[in-house]
C-alpha cells in the first residue's frame, strides 16, 4: 500500500510531496523534511512560526481553531480567515491526505 502523502507549497512556490507518518503532526512532517518552518515552541501553540494555509474546502472539515490558535494567527499580517492554521495543531488527518497546503510568509 502506498504511504499517505501531503503536498506542501513553499514560499518560493515550489511544490514538495511529503510522506505523512500517521502518528505525527503536520508541523513535524514539514519541519523534518527540511522545509523552513521554525516551530520554536515545539508545538504548544505559543508562537506562529508554523503558520500554513489549508484550502478552505479542507479546512472546513478540520476541528476549528482553538482560542489560542485564533488569537495568535489573527494578529499575523498574513492571516487568512478561512485558510490560516498552526500546522502543529493539525494531527494526521485523512481529510488532508493528497491535498496541498501552503507555507504562509515568515513574520
Amino acid at each position: 500500500m502506498s504511504k499517505p502523502i501531503i503536498n506542501v507549497a513553499d514560499r518560493e512556490g515550489y511544490l514538495h510531496t511529503l510522506e505523512w507518518e500517521p502518528d505525527t503532526t503536520l508541523m513535524e512532517t514539514i519541519r523534518d523534511n527540511d522545509l523552513p518552518i521554525l516551530a520554536s515552541c515545539g508545538g504548544t501553540a505559543s508562537c506562529a512560526t508554523c503558520h500554513v494555509y489549508v484550502q478552505p474546502k479542507d479546512n472546513e472539515q478540520l476541528a476549528s481553531r482553538s482560542e489560542d490558535e485564533d488569537e495568535l494567527l489573527g494578529e499575523t499580517e498574513a492571516f487568512r480567515e478561512c485558510e490560516s492554521r498552526l500546522s502543529c495543531q493539525i494531527r494526521f488527518n485523512p481529510v488532508l491526505v493528497g491535498s496541498t497546503i501552503t507555507l504562509a510568509p515568515e513574520e
Binding site: 505525527t24 513535524e28 519541519r31 523534518d32 527540511d34 523552513p36 521554525l38 520554536s40 515552541c41 515545539g42 508545538g43 504548544t44 501553540a45 505559543s46 508562537c47 506562529a48 489560542d68 488569537e71 495568535l72 494567527l73 489573527g74 494578529e75 499575523t76 499580517e77 513574520e107
Partner: protein
Amino acid sequence: MNEKPIVVVGAGHAGVHVATRLVELGWSGPTVLVDAEGTVPYERPPLSKDLLTESAPSAPPPLRRESYYLDKGIQTMLGVTAMAIDPEEGAVRLSDGGALPFHRLVLATGSTARTLPIPGANLEGVQFLKTLDDSQTLRNRLTPGTRVVVVGAGYIGMEVAAAAAKLGCDTTVLEFQDRVMSRVTSPVVSEHFRKLHEEHGVRFVFGAQASRFEGADHVTAVHTSDGMEYPADLVVIGVGVVPNQKLAEDAGLECSDGIMVDNHGRTSNPLIYAAGDVTRFQCPWEGVSRRLECVQNALAQADAVARHILGAPAKEPEIPWFWTIQHGVRLQTAGIRDPDDLAVVRGEPATGKFSILYLRNGDKLAAIDTVHSLSDFAAGKRLIAAGSHIDPIHAADPNVKLTQVAASMS
C-alpha cells in the same frame, strides 16, 4: 570539499538547530553532533510542565524524529562528552578517547542549574530540574501528601510548584525577593500568579533565604536565615542557571559569565562559534551585554552561526520571547522589560485575561507581558520589533486593538 567536519558540541535547541540549518543552507561537508546525554535530542520546555504531571512516565517530544540525523547526513555521537579543545590542533578531545579535528567548532553546551552553597545541599531529596533524568526523578517523587519545598519563585520554581500542587503535594515556595518572578515581570503579574497558586493550595514565604538543609541522609527540613524551619520530603532548587563555559575557558576563549560572542555567534577564536544559553552577547537594542535563556535566542543564534560559517547573509535581530504555563494559565512575554519602564495595565487582571505594556522613555513599546492574551502577544511582538510608540491611555483600553493604538501615534 572539506574533509574535516563542522563539530557541534551540545544537542539542545541551539546545537540541533545549527546542524539543521547547515544542511538546509547547503553545507555538503560532514557535520558531527556531540552530546553528553545519551538520548535522542529532545524538547526541554515540557520537562517542567506537562511531563511532570502525566500519569505514566513519558519521553519529551524529540527535537527531530530519530532517523532525521542519519537521513540528513548528520553524524550523532550521543553519550559522548567533549573533554577539551585543542585550539592549536583545531581538534576536540572526547570522553571515548578519540580526538575530532574540526573545520569549525560550535559550542552549544547550554547551562547547568545553579547550586546553593549551603550545608546539606548534597542530601538525598534535594533536587534540580534541568535534564530529562531530573524531570523523571522529580515526577516519580511528586506523590500525594509529599511535603515539597521549592527554593526560588522563578519560572522553573513556579512551574514545579504548579505541578506539585496538581499532584496533591503539600507545597511551599521560599523566595528571597518580596514577590514571585521578580526578575522577569512586574508586580501586577507577580500578584496575579501568586494568587493563582494560592488558590491551588501553594504557600509562599517571601524574604526567605535558605541557609541549611537538614537530614541524616535524606532531607527532612529546610532552615532559613531568619530561624524558621520548613519540613520537607523533597526540595527543588530553582535559583537560575550558570553557563557551561569550562571547555571554552580552558581553551582560552573570552568568557564573562557566558562565552562572549558577536552577533554572528563568533567567539574570540575565529574557528570557534557558540550559540544558546551558554553565550553572552551585546544586546542590539539596549547596548548592554546579556545572557538569554530562551528557545527563541537559541534558534536565532544557531541560525546566525550556520549563516556565518557558510557565508550566507545575516538576518535582522529578533525580539526575544518567553513563555510559561502554570495551573493552565499561560504567561507570554516579548521583549525585555526594564524596572524603570512605565507599566500600563491593559484589561482587568481579575478576568484572567490581560496584558502589561512596558513603555520606555514615555511611549516606546519595549516589552509586553500577556496573560491568556495571545493576540496582544502576537501584535505586541511585532510592534516592539517595529519600534512603535504607544499612547498609554489609549493602550489601556482592551477593546481597542494594539495595532490601532500604535497606528494612531504615527
